[in-house]
Amino acid sequence: MVKIEFLGPISQEPLKIEASSLEDVAKTLQDIEEISNWLDKCAVAVNDEMTNDLSTKLKDGDRVSILPPVCGG
């Protein structure tokens, strides 16, 4: 199982899903109405490491963070 966390303004509790890569995560999230609209503008981190590679492999216990558009300062 992989844990998906939604950061900042995305009001969605963490999900636990079966996924062996970020591609699997993408497929699952695209089917959730409240989340799918965010995906085009969100960045992704695996275990707190930013990645832009959809083929990134995941293993049991990995944590995926979904980061919506930012504005610090």
């Binding site: 950061l7 900042g8 303004p9 970020l22 591609e23 995560v25 993408a26 497929k27 999230l29 695209q30 799918s36 995906l39 085009d40 503008k41 969100c42 960045a43 992704v44 981190a45 707190d48 490491e49 930013m50 990645t51 832009n52 590679d53 959809l54 963070s65 979904i66 980061l67 919506p68 558009p69 930012v70 504005c71 610090g72 300062g73």
Partner: protein, 149 residues
């Protein structure tokens, strides 16, 4: 890197950073102080921060500054920050002014684009995500692509 609940004590932070580097032989110290402007009827801005990734982002800048003989520091507020108080201070110390002037610009711009911090307007006590002023981080959108389904 320093995170605080609510507004920053700007003078304390500025002075402490000055003292910390008082014998480091830097010739230029450039802080950037960000203060909440009164506009559009807001009473405050409010911030969420994801600290683990903010820390890695900051650490990479520490390394980048070090390679130029410089040093960066940063403080940011978490939660509500009333108008006319400060939410953000970053600073560059460098032996030479050109490096410092260029680095503070790059550091602040990359901070705005890639630090994992989310901003909300506070109006009538309600938090409203400042979506129109927010920027997708580098590499955003990969999960939205329709892949080889």
């Amino acid at each position: 890197m320093e995170l605080y609940q609510g507004s920053l004590d700007v003078k304390e932070i500025f002075g402490r950073w000055l003292d910390e580097e008082s014998s480091s032989n830097y010739g230029a110290y450039i802080p950037f102080v960000g203060t909440i402007r009164a506009e559009d009827g807001i009473e405050a801005l409010s911030f969420d921060i994801y600290e683990p990734i903010l820390q890695s982002w900051f650490d990479s800048w520490v390394g980048r500054a070090k390679s130029k003989g410089a040093k960066v520091k940063m403080a940011h507020a978490i939660g509500d920050v009333p108008i006319h108080t400060s939410s953000y201070i970053s600073a560059v110390f460098s032996p030479k002014r050109r490096v410092a002037l260029e680095l503070i610009d790059e550091f602040v711009e990359d901070f705005k684009a890639n630090a994992p911090i989310w901003k909300y307007d506070v109006i009538d006590g309600r938090r409203v995500y400042a979506e129109d002023r927010s920027t997708p981080m580098s590499g955003s959108g990969i999960l939205g692509k329709k892949g080889d389904k």
